[in-house]
């Protein structure tokens, strides 16, 4: 019994030592409940799904693209900080830095693999939609790629900021958490934003991911041309123009702070 207690005590000490992660974890569970409530309302409509009529009205295509988008969101936001964390745990981070290549570039190289991996997974998902579920997608592939590239670029800026924060906080980065949570809840990943109360809907219009998802569904399901999704593309391009330089700046500050405090390799 005492031994079991020792394991529980060890777990508790470990959990409370990561205070930010603990707080964000609890908040995440609460947001999850809210998200499922809205999704429940949407699904309770039955087979009509009038709210997704603009995307062809097919719930499977709607949800799978939402899910694929979430995968890219995860890659863009988490691949940089994930790469840093992984190098710290392997003990290789300091040795990577000994070369002439800047850490930002090393992270981008590392992210390229994660991006390709996700692209492969998403391609499989789309193939499943078409081949297994027999849903015909009228795709504007070039348009979808443009949307995806702009989205990944803009979100990568936020990912870089988050990597800069994680350099200092080590765990429990609030930037990624806030962005992922808001996107999951308010961007129309699992249900259309019309199901949100008006104040929350206003927030969803402030998120670039709302426009990204809309444009992605339009190009992948409705064969929308680049002209048709131009407003969304402009918003995504503007987002990238702001987040990428800001991301590099925050990352650089976090990196240098970790070097000043001597905690670069700590995690």
């Amino acid at each position: 019994m005492y031994r079991a207690w020792l394991f529980i005590k060890r777990g508790l000490i470990n959990m409370f030592s990561y205070k930010t992660a603990l707080a964000l974890g609890i908040l995440g569970s609460l947001v999850g409940i809210v998200q499922f409530t809205f999704m429940g309302r949407f699904l309770s409509e039955g087979n009509t799904f009038s709210a997704i009529g603009q995307y062809g009205g097919n719930i499977i295509a709607y949800l799978i693209i939402g899910s694929a988008f979430t995968a890219f969101l995860g890659v863009s936001l988490n691949s940089f900080q994930g790469a840093i964390r992984s190098e710290q745990q392997m003990g290789t981070l300091e040795h990577l830095l000994m070369g002439p290549t800047k850490l930002e570039l090393l992270l981008i190289y590392s992210g390229a693999w994660t991006f390709l991996n996700t692209l492969l997974n998403v391609s499989v998902l789309l193939a499943v939609i078409v081949l297994v579920f027999g849903i015909s997608l009228e795709m504007n592939l070039v348009g979808a790629i443009v949307v995806l590239v702009l989205t990944v670029l803009g979100l990568s800026g936020i990912g870089l900021m988050s990597a800069g924060v994680i350099m200092v906080t080590k765990v429990g980065d609030p930037i990624t958490w806030i962005f992922t949570t808001l996107t999951g809840l308010l961007s129309g990943v699992l249900f259309p934003i019309q199901y949100l109360p008006i104040p929350l809907r206003a927030v969803s219009y402030l998120l670039p991911t709302t426009y990204a998802l809309d444009a992605l569904r339009m190009t992948l399901i409705r064969n929308a041309s680049l002209e048709q999704v131009l407003p969304q593309l402009v918003i995504l391009a503007l987002t990238a123009m702001i987040t990428v330089p800001l991301g590099f700046c925050v990352f650089h500050r976090g990196f240098n702070k970790a070097r000043r405090t001597g905690t670069l390799a700590e995690y």
């Binding site: 040795h95 000994m98 002439p100």
Partner: protein, 315 residues
């Protein structure tokens, strides 16, 4: 060369400075041995010179490049062994790991393969090059770490405990390798806990104590500075009862007139710490008339370990 000028560093969570106003220089073709107890600041100094830590104050140059303003050039001049066992990708083998890091360090593909083969042979890992890193022993991991530092053939080497965890045979090989680098005119900063190794390899030794450089000199001068010599007298083995009684009398006679005499007896060996003013002739005369048969007498100088213990006392 390496030039360190009044480097201080304070970690945010520790009130005591990790390094305090440390200055030293290491010229080309020489080895500077940095010694100190655990936590004295040796690794912090290596990390500062590697540009992995930005010091709180002070200046330093590596190969003529400022560690604050010319970081990339500093890194390009360096081969670093940081005293950790990990630091490689577990599922890649030795060759693949070196190929990855060599590429990141800026070596071209053609040159890289030749250099990897060369360095693996140099550290004695040529037969284990295809073994995944996770299967490597502690010593093998350390050797791979050294091979990586050698890959770019830099001008300056920072070697943080390169021989810790390595078997004696391999340690000799690594020491020869370090001496060979010195012959080639490379500048080497070496941290170690092995006093014998520091003594054998270093041209100059610096001893850190609580972040301060408390001694810098050649190993010989450091030993001399302690002004301590030890007289060791061995006696022929004889009946223990008679030996003990003679030894008791001898101790009494030796201490007469020199009450603070520092002498210890272990089995049939008498060790006396000689200080300035300790009259060797008087001691030897007393011993010769003690009735004990002397088989050998020798005077030993203070070792580097004695210097280290004395310098870092009360840390």
């Amino acid at each position: 060369m390496i030039s360190v000028n009044s480097i201080s560093h304070i970690y945010s969570r520790k009130p005591q400075p990790a390094l305090s106003e440390v200055s030293f220089e290491v010229g080309p073709g020489s080895i500077f041995g940095l010694l100190g107890p655990n936590g004295a600041g040796k690794t912090t100094m290596v990390r500062i010179l590697s540009t992995l830590i930005i010091p709180t104050s002070g200046k330093a140059k590596v190969n003529g490049y400022d560690i604050r303003k010319e970081e990339a050039k500093v890194r390009a001049s360096l081969g670093v062994v940081i005293g950790e066992e990990r630091a490689f990708y577990y599922r890649l083998n030795g060759f693949q790991n070196l190929e990855f890091f060599g590429g990141i360090l800026g070596l071209n593909r053609k040159d890289l393969r030749r250099r990897i083969a060369e360095k693996l042979e140099l550290v004695g890992l040529e037969d284990d090059r295809k073994l995944p890193f996770m299967k490597y022993s502690t010593g093998m991991k350390k050797k791979l770490n050294i091979a990586r530092a050698l890959l770019v053939e830099p001008q300056v080497y920072l070697l943080d405990e390169p021989n810790s965890g390595i078997d004696p045979d391999s340690a000799v090989r690594i020491r020869e390798l370090i001496l060979d680098l010195r012959k080639k005119g490379k500048t080497i900063l070496l941290t170690t806990h092995n006093m014998d190794e520091a003594d054998r390899l270093s041209d100059v030794i610096g001893i850190l104590r609580q972040g301060r450089l408390v001694a810098v000199d050649t190993p010989g001068n450091l030993r001399k500075s302690l002004k301590r010599r030890v007289l060791k007298v061995e006696f022929r083995e004889e009946d223990l009862t008679s030996y003990k009684s003679k030894m008791l009398e001898l101790s009494g006679r030796l201490r007469r007139g020199e009450e603070t005499l520092d002498a210890t007896v272990k089995d049939f060996l008498l060790t006396i710490n000689l200080r300035d003013g300790s009259g060797i002739n008087r001691i030897l005369n007393i011993i010769s008339t003690s009735g004990l048969e002397v088989t050998s007498t020798r005077i030993e100088e203070a070792s580097l370990e004695d210097v280290f213990m004395e310098t870092t006392k009360g840390r």
